[in-house]
């Protein structure tokens, strides 16, 4: 029983990170109908930037700030330069362009920082807490991870629901042409949407870095986990992305704990396939049906 509880706790922690990556994918999908296959590489770059800050003697928090800021900028630049021309074009174009970006960013990281992974410090100790004499798979750093992701979710929700900017962002995502007729500068909103998404992704990168290390290919699996979580949530729903992330985190934690940690990615694949077979548009998607 303790083992089950521990695996669940570990699952919630990793699920929080998956949820953040999923949210980054969902924000972009909702706004531009593009699955950002470069998301893993983008958060890899911003985590490397944070690593460089620490390597140069900066504090953990300065590094985190650098990652978030560079995520914001990278997201905006990517949307403007690479993605804008393929919006409203065949899906294959967007897939290929984001894959191309994936490859370019991975190569660039290898050129700048080398191919060998580096360790990344956690913000707090990763020693598990002890409750009534039982060690739990939940450390102060895990609590920080969960808290940081939750804080970002709340902040984003407030931004989207409570502010004028959020209203414009949602309008631009739901109905770009109508939004333009209300004077919303849709192009700017899409850029901002990408920037926000990349910011959330960069947070996930820094949070997961202590356990996966920082290297050009270390975050590839995060893309798969984030995509799977997003698809479980319906790819269109930010709340669904969070639920999907937590579900996937727990499921993979059980796979890792009861079967083998080497089968975690296969487990994600199995979850993805199962969901897509049952509901080709995701578990929580409004049933819009396949377009024909």
């Amino acid at each position: 029983m303790v083992r089950f509880i521990n695996l669940t706790l570990a699952g919630i922690t990793s699920g929080a990170v998956f949820a953040a990556v999923a949210l980054a994918l969902v924000l972009i999908w909702r706004a531009t109908r593009v699955v950002n296959f470069a998301q893993g590489a983008m958060l890899m770059i911003t985590t490397f930037i944070a690593w460089s800050v620490i390597d140069a003697g900066g504090s953990y928090w300065l590094a985190l700030g650098a990652a978030l800021a560079s995520g914001l900028v990278l997201g905006a630049v990517v949307e403007r330069v690479v993605v804008r021309p393929v919006e409203n074009k065949p899906h294959l174009n967007a897939v290929i362009v984001t894959l191309g970006l994936f490859v370019v960013l991975q190569a660039a990281a290898g050129m700048i920082w080398g191919d060998t992974p580096h360790s990344y410090p956690p913000a707090f100790t990763i020693r598990g807490l002890s409750v009534a004499g039982t060690w739990l798979l939940l450390s102060p750093f895990d609590l920080f991870v969960i808290g940081a992701v939750a804080a970002v979710m709340v902040a984003l929700t407030l931004l989207f629901v409570r502010t004028d900017l959020g209203l414009k962002l949602r309008a631009a995502a739901f109905a770009p042409e109508i939004a333009r007729l209300q004077g919303v500068r849709v192009g700017r909103m899409l850029t901002l949407g990408w920037a926000l998404a990349a910011l959330v992704g960069s947070l996930a990168g820094v949070l997961v870095a202590p356990s996966v290390f920082v290297g050009p290919t270390q975050f590839d699996a995060m893309l798969v986990f984030g995509f799977t979580a997003a698809v479980i949530g319906g790819l269109d729903s930010p709340a669904g992305a969070v639920v999907g992330g937590l579900l996937l985190g727990c499921a993979l934690s059980y796979v890792s704990g009861y079967v083998s940690s080497d089968l975690v990615t296969m487990g994600a694949l199995a979850a993805l396939i199962t969901v897509l077979m049952v509901r080709p548009n995701g578990l929580f998607a409004a049933s819009g049906g396949r377009r024909v």
Partner: protein, 239 residues
């Protein structure tokens, strides 16, 4: 102030490989209702989309109050006081009624004035007030049309472009909407360009009307003249 608010000269618009409008001339007087009539596919909607900047004209000019809008971006045209109510309203169903309304006036950047305008809209369209915090998806067709109109009005536009507001609505609802449009001109001094296939309703409130056929203007007369012209009515307006 003798010049018309909207002057369109020799407008050609292509839709894909098809020329949808050819040489359209149109002038809309301040404070009037001008109807654009014609059969399905005559180019009425294309004309409105070109006026609000959604389509780029191939040639010709569009002037609002002497200012050239021919190649202006949608966002700029909105900021010059042109509001476009698209066909079947174009309310954003995922947003609430109140959010839809707010969206229409956000560009003015004056929160207090916007709140006032929204209250006025609730007074003008009571059904919207009752459902202000519900998603627009829950509204009926007539209510959506009201919401779309109200949303356009929260931006206090000088020129209101309305595309087929009667589409799919019950005659009683249509009559109410038409009365509202007329009042907007008479009482608030707004200018309305009304695209309609339902020529009878449109002519009942319009000052002037133009008739489009296959993308070209075949008549531009006072509304009463057109309503009295049997040949025109039978050939193009179907009543």
């Amino acid at each position: 102030m003798t010049k018309a608010l909207l002057e369109v000269r020799g407008l050609d618009v292509d839709y894909g490989a098809v020329r949808a409008l050819r040489g359209v001339d149109l002038s809309v007087e301040r404070g009037s209702v001008t109807a654009v009539l014609g059969a399905n596919g005559a180019g009425k909607t294309t004309l409105l989309r070109a006026l609000s900047g959604l389509l780029r004209p191939a040639s010709g000019t569009i002037e609002l109050d002497g200012r050239d809008l021919t190649r202006a971006a949608v966002e700029r045209i909105v900021r010059l006081g042109v509001a476009h109510v698209p066909q079947s309203g174009g309310v954003i169903t995922e947003l609430t009624v109140a959010e839809n309304l707010r969206l229409g006036g956000l560009w003015r950047g004056d929160r207090a004035a916007l709140a006032r305008r929204i209250d006025e809209m609730y007074a003008l369209f009571p059904p919207l007030a009752e459902r202000r915090s519900l998603p627009a998806a829950t509204l009926s067709g007539g209510e959506r049309q009201m919401l779309a109109l109200a949303r356009a009005l929260t931006g206090s536009p000088r020129l209101l472009l309305v595309d087929e507001p009667s589409l799919g609505l019950a005659p009683r609802v249509v009559a109410r909407l038409m009365a509202v449009l007329r009042r907007l001109c008479d009482e608030d001094g707004r200018t309305v360009l009304l695209v309609e296939q339902n020529a009878r309703s449109a002519l009942s409130i319009a000052d002037r009307a133009i008739v489009l056929d296959l993308g070209a203007v075949v008549a531009a007369e006072p509304a009463a003249t057109i309503a009295a012209d049997d040949r025109l009515r039978h050939a193009y307006l179907g009543f």
